[in-house]
């Protein structure tokens, strides 16, 4: 099958949706002739022109909020943040407006907007360019939050996000942009809110998302050589959370390790642990374990960064601990 990079798959999703629906417009910093900081919007300006691919000033609250105003008046904007760290500047617009408007106004309007934003570390970008704020947005009712791990998922999920009538925050991992993977020529969509079992196994369930899926897969491969069969569940969407797939897997393996790149407290991994503790306690033969970042900002030094962020060996060790 044809192979595309994660960035190319995302770009193809945008192109297909823009061809399909003239209401889909793209804006953000450097998304025009520049093609986006990570190349995702490359070629879109040339094909769709300055009325549908719009370069914005560095005004995150301004242009994310403008996305909301456009979404409630008939467009389907896909807004790009160059780094997701700056989502804090736009967070009032997302949390107090995009997320709540439909509810607060009794369902009289909808907000079909996608906010794309690159997350993640392992690039020595230090504390302002390495963060992953997905847990904050999964906490807020009214938003959907997506973090694809493969080119195939990236394309299918982005197309669904664009067609969704709700505000969707679509986090893309910087380490994944250049990763290649199979992407069929024919059109497909992947529903939001469905996890994917990326590897089947009967001994331990590892729940992961975004870049951590690749680390979990590598750890699982290594452990298979030692006779340990790991099941890797890729959440793909953290809000809505696919509780059924998680519980089904834990019912089979009776052991759970949750892997998450960012800080542990009040996070997606906390939520997954809570779901399994509340609804799948009887399945468990061992305590739930989490592999996460240390609870510190991301340091610049590669040595320190690697120490702070989860590594394949941390996952391997956690799986063995769960089996001990």
């Amino acid at each position: 099958m044809r192979e595309l990079s994660y960035a190319e798959a995302l770009g193809e999703a945008l192109r297909e949706e823009m061809r399909r629906d003239s209401k889909v417009v793209v804006w953000g910093l450097d998304v025009g002739p520049y093609g986006g900081a990570f190349g995702v919007t490359k070629g879109l300006y040339q094909e769709f022109g300055p009325e549908r691919v719009i370069d914005m000033p560095i005004s995150e609250a301004g242009y994310v909020g403008a996305g909301i105003g456009a979404a409630i008046t008939g467009l389907r904007p896909v807004v790009e943040l160059q780094f997701s760290d700056w989502i804090t500047i736009a967070s009032d617009q997302l949390i107090n407006h995009a997320a709540k408007m439909r509810y607060m106004f009794g369902g009289v309007l909808k907000v079909p907007m996608v906010l794309r934003a690159p997350v993640g570390g392992y690039i020595s970008a230090s504390a302002d360019h390495s963060q992953s704020f997905e847990s904050i947005f999964a906490f807020v009712p009214g938003l959907k939050v997506v973090l694809p791990a493969t080119p195939y998922d990236a394309k299918g999920l982005l197309k669904s996000a664009i067609r969704d009538d709700n505000p969707v925050i679509f986090f893309e991992h910087k380490q994944l942009y250049s990763v290649m993977g199979e992407v069929p020529e024919e059109e497909y969509l992947i529903p939001l809110g469905k996890a994917d079992v990326k590897r089947e196994g009967g001994d331990v369930t590892v729940v992961a998302y975004a870049f951590m899926v690749l680390k979990a897969m590598a750890a699982a491969e290594k452990l298979a050589g030692e006779g340990i069969n790991v099941e890797v569940v890729d959440l793909r969407t953290i809000d809505p959370l696919d509780e059924d797939t998680i519980l089904k897997s834990v019912a089979k393996t009776n052991r759970l390790v949750i892997v998450q790149e960012t800080w542990p407290r009040c996070s997606v991994s906390s939520e997954v642990a809570a779901v399994v503790a509340e609804k799948g306690f009887d399945f468990l033969d061992a305590p739930i374990l989490r592999v996460t970042s240390e609870n510190v900002p991301t340091p610049f030094s590669p040595v320190l960064e690697n120490y702070v962020l989860p590594q394949e060996e941390d996952i391997t060790a956690a799986v063995k601990k769960a089996l001990a």
């Binding site: 417009v25 009325e51 549908r52 719009i54 914005m56 000033p57 005004s59 609250a61 301004g62 242009y63 994310v64 909020g65 403008a66 996305g67 909301i68 105003g69 456009a70 979404a71 409630i72 008046t73 008939g74 467009l75 904007p77 009032d92 617009q93 107090n96 407006h97 408007m101 439909r102 509810y103 607060m104 106004f105 009794g106 369902g107 009289v108 309007l109 909808k110 079909p112 009712p141 009214g142 959907k144 493969t150 195939y152 998922d153 299918g156 669904s160 067609r163 969704d164 009538d165 709700n166 199979e182 059109e187 497909y188 969509l189 992947i190 529903p191 469905k194 994917d196 079992v197 990326k198």
Partner: protein, 333 residues
């Protein structure tokens, strides 16, 4: 400016409606009968009415925490507003928004907002949307003097200016942001001067003169519709009441309140209409009776309307939607 009589009458009636509605809300709130808290528009009626009278029905507005006047000025139904203020199922937003959050897209009302300055980027996006979709619709963004110190104001106006968006930014300068005199926390005297930084027209208007507001906004709307971009209009006005009902007025000089009450926008407009023979005393009386009756009906409607069903608490978080059949599990290995 030659303003058609029907528009003058509409303006008068809507100002009167706001005056009566807000006075009634003040009374009802004081009895402890109305939930939440309310920010009254008394004294500022000319701003909302003069502005909305210059708009088409399908033009957009965004509103603020002090929004009742905007909703009435844009054609809102007092029954559904009062029901919303009482948290009733028949309110504009099923009682889920309340006083500070009324939206009615069918009237071009994109929503009132409890976050100061929060609506400014949203109005700007509605403007961008109109421009890209070539609908010819203009958006008016209402906000206060306090909001003009938020980053959203500057970010959004810069965007509107850069892309020549059809947006009119109407600043209701009532001198106070909650309990702080905004002149003490801002160096420029006129907020309209800030337009210079964005290369757009900045206009100062007597916000208690409904005709002056109408004239300034009409010009700005014309400019916006012609594709020439946004305008910042600062309406100098005053809120007769405190920031929210029940707050002690410890921060305003009573003389200042008196001075501003003397600049009464409604009486001023009525005198003018009578003097120029546009209205007779009998017509004034008839309009007043109609508004009073309509308001009494609105209160009755709100009282008699049912509370929302408890199941409503859990709806409208997400737009329900069925995706096409292309979505089948979505696993790929």
């Amino acid at each position: 400016m030659d303003i058609p009589r029907d528009i003058l009458l509409l303006m008068y009636e809507r100002m009167l409606k706001i005056r009566h509605f807000e006075t009634k809300v003040m009374e009802l709130f004081a009895t402890g009968d109305m939930p939440g808290f309310v920010h009254l528009y008394l004294g500022e009626e000319a701003v909302a009415v003069g502005t909305c009278a210059a708009l088409n029905d399908d033009d957009y507005i965004t509103s603020t925490h002090r929004g009742h006047g905007h909703i009435i000025a844009k054609g809102g139904d007092m029954k559904r507003m009062m029901a919303e203020l009482y948290g009733k199922a028949t309110g504009y937003n099923k009682g889920k928004g309340g006083s500070m959050h009324i939206a009615a897209p069918q009237l071009g009302i994109l929503g009132a907002d409890g976050i100061v300055g929060g609506g400014i980027p949203i109005a700007t996006g509605a403007g961008l949307s109109s421009k890209l979709q070539k609908t010819g619709r203009v958006t008016v963004c209402f906000f206060g003097d306090g909001a003009s110190n938020q980053g959203t104001f500057h970010e959004a106006i810069n965007i509107a200016s850069a892309f020549s968006l059809p947006v009119v930014y109407v600043c209701e300068n009532n001198l106070y942001g909650v309990g702080t005199r905004q002149g003490d926390v801002r160096k420029v005297e006129d907020i309209a001067d800030r337009a210079v930084g964005y290369a757009i027209p900045g206009v100062v208007v007597d916000g208690n003169d409904v005709l002056a507001v109408y004239e300034a906004v009409s010009k700005a709307v014309e400019r916006a519709r012609a594709g020439e971009g946004p305008t910042l209009i600062e309406c100098k006005t005053y809120r007769w009441r405190v920031h929210f009902e029940g707050e002690p007025d410890t921060y305003r000089d009573p003389q200042e309140v008196e001075d501003w009450r003397a600049k009464e926008p409604l009486r001023r407009f009525k005198s003018k209409l009578l003097e120029e023979g546009i209205l007779t005393e009998e017509e004034v009386q008839a309009i007043e009776e109609r508004v009073v009756e309509e308001l009494a009906e609105a209160v009755r409607f709100a009282y008699e309307s049912p509370d929302p069903d408890l199941t409503e608490a859990l709806t409208d978080v997400y737009a329900e939607q069925l995706l096409p059949n292309l979505c089948e599990g979505g696993s790929h290995s």
